[in-house]
């Protein structure tokens, strides 16, 4: 008996030692392999797929394999992270000083201010290949540190079948029209307007509504205006919609992809704000054909929003002291961002490319064309240092409660958080 206990303790000790050594094995410089002329690059990207069949790992692996074939001494290891866990996992990885060589997904200004990433001019051959509207968003103190890898613009999606059943002839262009349409749709058993304010991406949904009332997260000088009178009024309107039962009952737990997107694709939703990616969800669900739904400009309080929201996900390169590796990274970046690869990505996930030349080829695309037209004329998320770091996580967590609780209080708390450090 005693012996067994001791053995158990020894085993635990050994296990602990293993765990500890596993933690420390990832050296700060990442994997090196420049010695023998062979270079290994680590790429971490977000997963845009909806499951194993269309995971972005496949997309990157194809590029990595093709690249390895052309450059046998360079191997690229691919890891992708589900968007739901992206923030947590990437932050944890970086906090443990386990830096990838190439990181696709979100851009944090802290990457640049902490000296982790290369200016984009050193990372690719043509630093101006990205769509220019996103240049400032990926810049810190005048230097651009990331390129837009994939982009999208938002519009109102509406279910034409549902509209016909409810006797509505054209999509709404004002809030009042949207409200009465939503009521008519609800009477026919549809979710009139899907309001996804769950933690996945409420910052986009609410921003589109704020824009409709001349509000926004910040004013033109970059000061936070989260609890401005316009925004409070906007949320009071949303609260009214929720109270009338024309949305999902608890928007704060209703997410963009898993709930709103899936429900629209299943034909249960009359209207929702979304991006081109929704067309892929609809196509894979197989319930609605491309003629059963359409897009329209985002309705505002008194008329359609003139500038919709443009969203870009970034690709950035981490610094390395190894010259051979740096060269390999640049080579790979140029390869990964060529038109063929950019368009393959756009096609796979119904998103827009990040480079201007790839975007230009899609101008007349039947599905993506209308989004391509609106993209150069879009507003963006705030560019403050603390937006992605502290403000956004708080918004994701709390903003949904503003449409069931007290809008002024919730927005006020977020405003206080956003301005507390400055």
């Amino acid at each position: 008996m005693k012996r067994r206990v001791l053995l158990g303790t020894a085993a635990l000790g050994a296990a602990a030692a293993l765990v500890l050594s596993a933690c420390s094995s990832s050296s700060p410089g990442g994997s090196s392999g420049g010695g023998g002329g062979n270079v290994t690059l680590n790429l971490v990207g977000a997963d845009y797929g909806s499951g194993p069949s269309n995971t972005t790992t496949k997309y990157w692996q194809n590029i990595a394999d093709a690249f390895h074939k052309a450059n046998p001494n360079i191997t690229v290891n691919v890891t992708t992270i589900n968007w739901t866990d992206y923030d947590t996992k990437v932050k944890t990885q970086l906090q443990n000083h386990d830096y990838p060589d190439i990181l696709q997904g979100e851009f944090f200004p802290q990457y640049a201010t902490d000296g982790l990433i290369e200016p984009i001019a050193d990372a690719v051959s043509n630093p101006n290949e990205g769509i220019s509207v996103f240049k400032d968003q990926f810049s810190v103190k005048g230097t651009q540190y990331a390129l837009p890898f994939v982009t999208s613009a938002r519009a109102l999606f509406y279910n034409k079948l549902a509209f016909a059943k409810a006797g509505i002839s054209s999509p709404p262009s004002t809030w009042a029209e949207l409200e009465s349409d939503a009521k008519a749709l609800k009477a026919k058993g549809y979710i009139g307007y899907a309001l996804p304010l769950g933690p996945e991406e409420p910052q986009a949904e609410t921003y589109l509504w704020m824009l409709g009332n001349g509000g926004g997260w910040q004013d033109s000088s970059g000061k936070y205006t989260i609890n401005s009178p316009q925004n409070i009024q906007t949320f009071q309107f949303l609260k009214k919609l929720v109270g009338e039962g024309v949305t999902e009952p608890n928007p704060a737990t209703y997410n963009r992809t898993a709930n709103a997107g899936a429900d629209f694709a299943a034909g249960k939703v009359g209207m929702e704000f979304s991006g081109p990616f929704l067309t892929a969800t609809i196509a894979s669900a197989g319930k609605l054909t491309t003629s059963d739904y359409a897009t329209a400009p985002i309705p505002g309080k008194n008329g359609p929003v003139s500038k919709t929201l443009g969203v870009a996900d970034a690709i950035q390169v981490f610094k390395t002291s190894d010259a051979a590796k740096q060269k390999a990274i640049k080579k790979f970046m140029d390869f990964a961002l060529n038109n063929t690869n950019q368009l393959a990505f756009a096609k796979e996930y119904a998103l827009l490319p990040g480079t201007q030349s790839a975007l230009d080829t899609l101008k007349n695309d039947p599905v993506l064309g209308s989004f391509v037209q609106t993209l150069p004329n879009t507003v963006l998320f705030p560019q403050s240092d603390n937006w992605t770091a502290t403000v956004l996580p708080a918004i994701k967590q709390e903003i949904g409660t503003a449409v069931t609780g007290d809008p002024a209080k919730v927005l006020g708390e977020l405003q206080a958080k956003a301005t507390s450090g400055s």
């Binding site: 602990a16 009952p249 737990t253 967590q397």
Partner: protein
């Protein structure tokens, strides 16, 4: 001189010998328990940015930010309710179940095995299953409640149990009790089996009826088992993460978060503040355990 020296050396060696045996345990405690505690305290006083860069000493800044959180008071209150209700209900249910399983009845062995199931299943899986069963449109529980007329319309706010914080919390209390009961029942059952039958015989001779002998014999003699069960449950329930995280994520907002969940929620925006929350949690557990150990030690001495 030499012989003395030799015996001295061997005595030293002999004195060090146990170290080989307790060494791994000490190493385990130092690296798995003490080191993380030290690091946790250190992190709580550092200014660490979102990508993990340490920008130096932060003083009490993280704690000040934490105590300025408008919802902290409500979260702490909710945590207390969570621990007290889950542990109390668990213990009451387990006392009854243990009494039942202590009786002889056909298929007792099978019944005892069945009780292990919620314990053996991963808590995460159990929570996911409950979340699905509570789905507002097609969840099993909701469909059943709809069939018997309690839920009027599927997909309505009423059916969205996990979307409304006040109701979601009590569903999660139920799940927490469900997963805590097996262990507690077994701990109490083990306690029941140590009570000798003669004690009850003597009580019966003295004329004590069932209820009275339960209160004056069974419960006092169960005290050691109950102490262990309650203590472990308090720590487990206080630190419980998977149930709330999988069922509501602490949401909407932080309206169903306990301090443990809240610590994880604020980690996304501030690591230092999250570490400060950890330190506070750590303090709460220490205080809870100290109180409880003290209280139970006092009573055992009186009994002994």
């Amino acid at each position: 001189m030499q012989p003395t020296f030799r015996t001295g050396a061997s005595r030293h060696v002999r004195r060090l010998a146990p170290l080989a045996w307790i060494g791994p345990a000490i190493g385990l405690i130092v690296f798995v328990v003490l080191l993380p505690v030290v690091l946790m305290f250190r992190t709580a006083f550092r200014n660490i940015d979102t990508v993990g860069f340490d920008h130096g000493w932060a003083g009490w800044l993280n704690f000040r930010a934490l105590f300025k959180e408008p919802d902290l008071g409500a979260i702490v209150m909710r945590t207390i309710v969570w621990v007290v209700v889950v542990v109390a209900v668990t213990v009451v249910v387990s006392l009854a179940l243990a009494q039942l399983f202590h009786q002889r009845f056909p298929l007792r062995r099978v019944a005892r095995w069945a009780l292990i199931a919620p314990w053996a299943a991963s808590v995460f899986m159990t929570s996911v299953v409950f979340r699905w069963m509570l789905n507002s449109r097609s969840g099993l529980i909701n469909v059943f409640l709809h069939d018997i007329g309690i839920v009027h319309t599927l997909g309505s706010s009423q059916a969205d149990w996990l979307g409304r914080p006040s109701v979601a919390f009590w569903w999660m209390v139920g799940v927490a009790v469900f997963v805590s009961v097996p262990f507690t029942t077994y701990a109490i059952l083990a306690g029941l089996q140590t009570i000798p039958g003669e004690v009850y015989e003597a009580a019966r001779v003295d004329g004590a009826d069932g209820w009275r002998s339960y209160l004056t014999i069974t419960l006092p003699l169960l005290r050691p088992a109950l102490t262990v069960a309650v203590l472990i449950n308090i720590m487990n329930v206080f630190n419980s993460f998977p149930i709330i995280w999988t069922m509501t994520g602490g949401g909407p907002g932080d309206k169903t978060a306990t301090t443990t969940i809240f610590m994880y929620q604020i980690k996304a925006s501030s690591i230092g503040e999250s570490a400060a929350m950890s330190v506070v949690n750590f303090g709460i557990v220490i205080v809870l355990v100290a109180f409880f150990v003290r209280a139970s030690r006092g009573t055992t001495q009186v009994d002994g």
